[in-house]
Amino acid sequence: MKQPRLSRRTMVAGGGVAAALGATALGLTLPRWLGRRHAPTPYDDLLATLVDREQAARLGEVARSALPTFSARAAARELRQRFERRNLAEVLDADIREGRIAEVGGWLLPDSLAQLCTLATY
């Protein structure tokens, strides 16, 4: 008995669907592998310490609106000094220990974290 053969049209259509599904899957999973893409900023070295930059930026918007004279460059300079030979946890510990607590929308945060959040809005 003759085996049924796939027509060229069916094969092309099937290949197209498979390619589309593959691309979709890749699109969904790539950001998890590579990190969500953000437009480059002069502060990316600092912002790389934030695990969830979107949530941080949400806080940062509130902080920034309360600080109309906020200077991102000055804040970044200050943060880079604090981060010298220290990681995020150590910087935040020092803030907490030394009483550098910022208030963002009423929330009490280590000052360096509040500044990072504000930089995340740039």
């Binding site: 934030l50 949400r58 907490i96 208030e103 929330w107 009490l108 959040c117």
Partner: protein, 499 residues
């Protein structure tokens, strides 16, 4: 056992002559009467009300309130045997040592003695308010075995513990009138009069002692009480009113030569939802919300500033309690996620709670009671309360909350949001403890206090004041157990001088 006497049955013109007359049958008056039992002193206690609430009697409390919102004066007290204990919440906590100190950052602060003067009386007071075994801050260790409390990093705020009064069968709290009626009836040297309203204090012509006071009743009877010693135990508001209204010899009123009676009125502001507290680990133990029975002591934690933090940060007392679970808004969720991730903490089960507090106010001579032209049904001038709260009182509490928030971060156990910032937001959240304080303040200097260290009115040899009206500063602790202790001390003083 003798029954209480109905003052309405005493013929007009009668003159009663006890050794000690106590005016007012609230916690202070009842405590004093019980403490003077089994002495040779003839004691009489006069209570305006009866054994239960009566609207006509209660209406005698009516007055005006101006300034910062406050409960109507006839709604923040109870005028029948048991007084304020008839509507108290049963919250107890001893004063802290620093409460007695002259604190340079707190104007008009300083008691004439330290906590050691009261310590011998605390345990008897604890028994009278039926708050179980003395546990308070000794509860920390055993309660940690029940369930780990929310961890705080080292710093200026610690977990302190309230205890609660309770009556038999776990009915909260102890109503002094109901609870001690039978005990009072058993006191052989006591006569307790109900429905007798003190309407006038008559100073002797030499202005050096109280000659007698007058009792009026709703059925038109009037009689006099000429006691060797009289103790005003009407509560901080009515003590001041009776003293101010008795103006026949001294035009400014009794004990008011330095214009202090009625000044320095205070209460404990209880702002609601002052902050949101997040526990990263999730649910906090149930004892934060509902008192826990720790071997007979009903305990509940509160966050309190340490004495050294008060000194260093120039803050006043406060007691912050966790009230109820709340939902976070999007910003709150962002704050928790961002902070927990940055601290390396798992906050996937985080829970948020509303917190409230009781605050100590700084003494303020302009927060005061004055007489008005309006009179009650017995002819006594009604009062006006001019109520004030300063911005610095709120700002100082905020410093304590910031410290608590810092300590939660330090422990990586949680974080906080401060919900109140503007004066308007504070005032909108404000409730009051109905803890009337300060109107006949205690001070060794007659120019700075109405009564001396023994609670005797300056300049008068035989008139005393009991109750929290004599507190020169107010602590954040609830006053009832403390005023009972102070009254027990007064009883010992009177026993000593009247032997």
């Amino acid at each position: 056992m003798s029954a209480f006497i109905d003052a309405r049955a005493i013929p007009s013109g009668t003159i009663l002559q006890p050794d000690v007359a106590i005016i007012g049958g609230g916690p202070a008056g009842i405590t004093l009467a019980l403490a003077l039992a089994q002495t040779r002193l003839k004691v009489m206690l006069f209570e305006s009300g009866g054994m239960d609430f009566d609207a006509k009697t209660q209406a005698l409390y009516g007055g005006k309130v101006a300034g910062v919102s406050y409960l109507p004066l006839d709604a923040s007290r109870m005028r029948y045997l048991g007084g304020g204990s008839n509507h108290w919440g049963g919250w107890c906590r001893p004063l802290d040592p620093i409460d007695f100190e002259q604190r340079p950052w707190v104007r008009h602060s300083g008691w004439p003695f330290g906590i050691k003067e009261l310590q011998p009386y605390f345990k008897r007071a604890q028994t009278l308010v039926e708050a179980g075994p003395w546990s308070y801050d000794r509860s920390t260790k055993p309660m940690a075995e029940v369930a780990e409390p929310l961890e705080l990093g080292s710093g200026g705020v610690y977990t302190s513990w309230f205890q609660f009064s309770r009556q038999r069968d776990s009915v909260l709290p102890t109503h002094f009138g109901e609870r001690y009626a039978a005990d009072l009836k058993r006191v052989a040297n006591l006569k307790l009069f109900l429905h007798g309203n003190a309407t006038h204090l008559s100073i002797a012509a030499n202005a050096a002692n109280l000659d007698h006071f007058e009792i009026s009743t709703f059925n038109g009877r009037k009689f006099s009480v000429k006691a060797k010693t009289t103790v005003l135990a009407l509560g901080a508001v009515e003590n001041a009113r009776l003293m101010l209204a008795s103006r026949d010899v001294a035009s400014a009123g009794v004990g008011n030569g330095n214009d202090l009676v009625g000044r320095f009125f205070a209460d404990h502001p209880i702002p609601r939802d002052t902050a949101t507290l997040v526990s990263f680990a999730g649910d906090i133990p149930g004892y934060y919300f509902n008192a826990y029975d720790l071997n007979g002591a009903l305990v509940r934690p509160a966050f309190a500033p340490r004495d050294d933090f008060k000194r260093n940060s120039k803050v006043l007392g406060s007691l912050t309690t966790v009230e109820n679970a709340v939902e976070l808004d999007d910003l709150g969720k962002a704050a928790v996620v961002t902070t927990a991730l940055a601290l390396g903490v798992d906050a996937s089960n985080a829970k948020a709670y509303s917190v409230g507090c009781g605050l100590e106010l700084e003494p303020d001579p302009e927060r005061r009671l004055t007489l008005t032209d309006e009179r009650d049904s017995l002819g006594l001038p009604r009062l006006k309360l001019s109520n004030r709260v300063s911005d610095s009182d709120f700002a100082r509490y905020r410093l304590t909350m910031r410290e608590l928030g810092r300590q939660l971060l330090a422990a990586r156990s949680g974080m906080m949001r401060l919900n109140l910032k503007s004066r308007e937001s504070w005032l909108a959240a404000l409730d009051w403890g109905d803890h009337h304080l300060g109107t006949t303040r205690m001070h060794v200097d007659p120019k700075q206090g109405v009564v001396d260290a023994n609670l005797k009115v300056h300049g008068l040899s035989n008139l005393y004041v009991a109750g929290s009206g004599v507190f020169p500063t107010y602590s954040a602790s609830n006053p009832t157990m403390n005023l009972v202790a102070l009254t027990l001390r007064l009883a010992d003083h009177l026993k000593g001088i009247m032997r």
